[in-house]
Symmetry: C2
Subunit: 651 residues, 2 copies
């Protein structure tokens, strides 16, 4: 038996350490991961059973599909410039869902919608509902505002997902024809548009298309769009001059009165390699950075990777909410200043948290490090999941960290980017949780289920039983093995204060920095026998998070977390005026269950200030108050009362 | 000796009580009050010696005065629509200053500026620099935005002040001619404009003009403007329709996309008697409410007074900062929602606090009650005074209650309403502090100096020695008396927890509600002998103010006050990251002096959260920190470091 576990010798420890770090990996394909998790599976089932049909219904009733029948469109409703992206994300989510939930009716629905798209495509390959039906003469004249290539990008992602799920090339063919046109129109050559889209998306989509087709030219086009961004002469100035009219956003373009911010809004303020701070519209930023990480990997481009690392560090150390939500302001749907993270007005768009997960997934392909894995886990369990109601039919677009009440999820939005984005993410969750290296399974996020791991020309099967939200026991059992040794790599989350690991019953010393380094990943390579188990025991005791002093408005406040979940107080459990509650520093906390939710309880206090008037000289009165915290993602599912993530902490 | 002091009999106590309440009073004329106060006099001297000359210089160099020579104006600079009001407020401040600081040079400067105004006046009486030189055809077509009658109002106030100070009618004559025209143009009659100005001001100015001239028609015009406001059909809609173009604010008009808020912005959302909440632009609101109080008094109009009381209660119980600052948002320079009083972004415009003092002064004429007197004192010592730098040359337009540093006063503003507004207020301070009833001196705000009190056809002199900011001893000494008995009335501030009062050496029982009722005013009527003294001993121990729970972001915070002054922490005394400081509930506080300022000191703590990253699991570390509080008004005079009024309080 070849076996490089734990700390038998320094040499072996080094080998383990080396094995676990710096090696590339790729997301596990959807069909290789079957999620069977008490936490996640009900949510995915809800998306499959409720969200996807409901969103199909929305596309019908709002008019997206009708609008694809150009000849029947008589002006009402007028297609929104984003509509094609809504259709695309529904296709992507529905395609993903077919992988583990075969459904001939849904398969046929997909064929119908794709046939509509094909019939809507112009002879030269162009496909955009808004411009084809409303402003046919204005094609590619308002890249800054009109989301034309953004829509194309989502349709490309949809095509790749549909092809991967069904083997059909119907939409892939349509989109390859469209990309042929885009390739002709955009570029540095004579007569070409030296430009790119104001809303990034097509860049990462083209990387996916290159992966699905093996055609490097798509990668080159992605690279062109990424590299051209922010260069002088500034494309959007030239475009505006040529157009001679306001763009689609008109004078209301965010930051219109401040050219610098207007450029930052769409990450056009500098060439991407020179960018140092996460700025502007948060979703745009995440999609750009995802493409940058993709290209850094595909082109082994260290300066692009360096830019990604810089931006990641800046974002996560200065501009990220404790929930993994990002983007402070509704004004630009994005970033403001360092350490400007107000709770009540937090924008923290669901799509931005999804984008953060997408970027993390891509950086983990290059550099498996807990700085990415921890944030991936955090965003998935909090900033992303909060976007979806328990019944799968209502959505948060923005995700504040406190509410004075009266805030709830909506069924749909005029700009309906978030609902289908949640759906496509949850139906592809396995690819975020698991990755494959060479003869290696990498577990970024512990989610129960079964993973088929390619090993040489063979395949191993690992069954994961992860009770991350309860006991903290995570077991990876080799259910079917191979003769070739392979590696099991897993992330030890930074949130677990004491963690133990056994491999086939033998304890591994995680205190040895050669075994578990700062990257937080530990790898075990061996010849596995059937039923060999890797067992991790995580510390899931509730813990308190306290803010960097520079989060000035959060001084003296504390947030409660357990495992990967952030917790919050809700009015339904704790009464109104949550701001008057405090959690003493020495209060015992315990875990429990309330209405199907894992809860955290503590003996707290409720302060009142007797008297009248806005400002009172009376002494505060404090009384005992049992505090009940519920997971943040679950808030606003039991009425629209007050909510708070950050709670006063008293000495 | 006829003597109705204190508690010798119940009957006498009743007489005292009855005497003190519900009786009208009028502000003491400027010439009757000589301020000689260690706190206020240096500030007034600074205004006289520095601010007024400096602002005259600004009117010269920015171009206000040049613009009055229409024939010489060649388009650069283009007069701002507000410019006449800047000139007016300077005239008012300079005139006020002449009362106690005779200055033949300043007198001559005033004559010159007034001559310029007279020469600029059109034959029909019209006088407005912007419209006369830039848009002569557009006169009275944009009342909503263009501040035409607002400028006229300030010029009327200037004329009244100049006349009162100098006896000259030069400006009064000019403005009466202009008002003749305004009276012709506006009104309900055939061919008249059934309208009013978007920015209230002329209403209260016309009441002053009526007072100065004895002409009731000015009162009627004021009443017309006040009553017409907010009625249907809505004047500004009709005006906009007639004009056919955007107003001066254009599409940037605050709340342009929300007709309801757009009306509230200028208090046009309902007829004034039906208004229940202080809304919109804060200065506009204060000027309107001041005029409403004036008219309620002059016309003995109880429903107008009732509206004032409702608005006052709403404002002071829900929308007023602890400094007496009002107006939350820079967007509308005004009010937002109840209990929305963020510190760092507080607008709390200096002019709005001045407007609040103006309104309080008017309500006190009808109803001497501490609900007005306490707020008047608070606003003067904090929200107003913070607007002026120690050197008298720099000004805050907005007055936040916390700063992360880098915020300081400016010499001037494009819209320079606040600097001359502070100047005219401080040069008329005596009229805010003291009022006269029938044979009665009323002290609303204890400021040292000398007051000549009309008694019958005679005059008494009362010398006040008020150490409100120090020992709390306030002495009113009858320096010259009359044969007729007269009344001395004073406000016992709510902030003084224990107060004693002696009259000619005899103690008065302030615990008797018949002597000191809820109104907070106590009156003593007697035949006074020379050197009789009324001595009040106030409790000036530092105290803590705690917020109503509905100020949700202030839960757990405390503000320190002493006497009428609010205090603040500044970085220069306490180091950076003030948010990490806390004031334990049982900490001893003491008073002291730092750099000429009265300070409050306490043994506090400084918390740090060891570790790295935005959110940390490490336990907080607390160390001793000596906290030094300085008066809020004095902040940002020793560098532009951090500042905080509200500080964390720990149990």
């Amino acid at each position: 038996m070849t076996d490089t576990i734990n700390h038998t010798t320094d040499h072996q420890a080094d080998a383990i350490a080396a094995a676990g770090r710096g090696r590339p990996s790729r997301p596990a394909p959807l069909d290789a991961v079957t999620v069977d998790d008490t936490f996640w599976s009900p949510r995915i089932e809800t998306v499959v059973a409720e969200t996807i049909p409901f969103q199909r219904h929305q596309l019908d009733t709002v008019g997206h599909l009708h609008a694809l029948r150009h000849e029947e469109l008589v002006g009402d409703p007028v297609p929104h410039i984003f509509w094609d992206s809504d259709v695309a994300k529904w296709i992507e989510a529905a395609s993903n869902s077919l992988v583990h939930h075969p459904d001939s009716d849904l398969d046929a629905q997909l064929d119908d919608v794709i046939a509509l798209l094909a019939s809507a495509q112009d002879d030269d390959g162009y496909l955009n509902t808004y411009f084809q039906t409303v402003e046919p003469e204005a094609r590619f004249t308002d890249l800054r505002d009109a989301h034309e290539l953004y829509c194309a990008g989502h349709l490309i992602e949809a095509a790749v997902a549909h092809h991967a799920a069904t083997g059909k090339t119907s939409l892939l063919d349509v989109m390859r024809r469209y990309v042929d046109l885009i390739e002709d129109v955009f570029g540095p050559g004579e007569g070409q548009l030296r430009g790119y889209d104001g809303h990034e998306e097509i860049e990462l989509a083209l990387v996916k298309l290159a992966g699905a087709t093996g055609e490097l030219r798509y990668l080159e086009l992605a690279s062109y769009f990424v590299e051209e961004r922010g260069r002088e002469p500034y494309f959007f100035d030239l475009e505006a001059e040529r157009r001679g009219t306001d763009g689609w956003f008109g004078s209301h373009f965010p930051g219109a009165d401040h050219p610098g911010r207007r450029r930052e809004y769409l990450q056009g303020h500098a060439p991407v390699r020179e960018q140092t701070e996460a700025v502007g519209h948060a979703v745009r930023a995440m999609y750009l950075y995802s493409a940058m990480a993709d290209l850094a990997r595909e082109q082994e481009d260290s300066s692009l990777l360096e830019a990604c690392r810089r931006l990641w560090d800046h974002l996560t150390s200065r501009r990220m909410y404790v929930t993994g939500g990002i983007g402070t302001s509704a004004v630009n749907e994005g970033f403001t200043e360092d350490f400007d993270l107000p709770d009540g007005t937090a924008y923290a768009e669901t799509c931005a948290a999804i984008g953060l997960a997408m970027w993390a997934q891509r950086l983990l392909r290059i550099d498996r490090h807990r700085r990415y894995g921890d944030v991936l886990e955090l965003a998935l369990h909090n900033g992303v999941l909060a976007g979806l109601s328990h019944d799968g039919r209502c959505f948060f677009y923005d995700n504040p960290l406190s509410s004075r009440g009266g805030v709830g999820r909506n069924e749909w939005f005029d700009v309906a980017c978030c609902p289908p984005n949640v759906a496509r993410l949850l139906t592809s969750l396995g690819s975020y949780a698991y990755a494959f290296g060479d003869d290696e399974l990498v577990m970024h996020v512990a989610i129960s289920g079964q993973v088929r791991v390619p090993v040489g020309d063979d395949e191993a099967v690992v069954v994961v039983d992860a009770d991350v939200l309860g006991s903290g026991r995570v077991e990876l059992r080799v259910a079917a093995t191979t003769t070739t040794p392979f590696t099991v790599t897993l992330r030890v989350p930074a949130w677990s204060r004491t963690t133990s690991l056994t491999v086939a019953g033998i304890e591994v010393d995680l205190g040895d920095p050669a075994v578990l380094g700062e990257d937080g990943y530990v790898s075990v390579t061996r010849s596995w026998s059937e039923d060999d188990r890797v067992v991790v025991q995580l510390d899931t005791a509730p813990r308190r998070l306290r803010p960097d002093a520079r989060l000035a408005d959060h001084a003296g406040l504390v947030a409660v977390a357990r495992g990967p979940l952030m917790y919050a107080l809700e009015e339904v459990d704790n009464g109104a005026e949550l701001q008057m509650l405090a959690l003493p520093r020495d209060a015992e906390v315990s875990v429990g269950h309330v209405g199907g939710l894992d809860t955290v309880h503590a003996a707290g206090t409720r302060t009142s200030i007797p008297g009248e008037g806005l400002y009172r000289t009376s002494d505060p009165v404090e009384e005992f108050a049992e505090l009940t915290f519920v997971p943040y993602f679950s808030w606003a599912n039991r009425g629209e009362g007050e909510m708070r993530v950050w709670v006063r902490e008293t000495p």
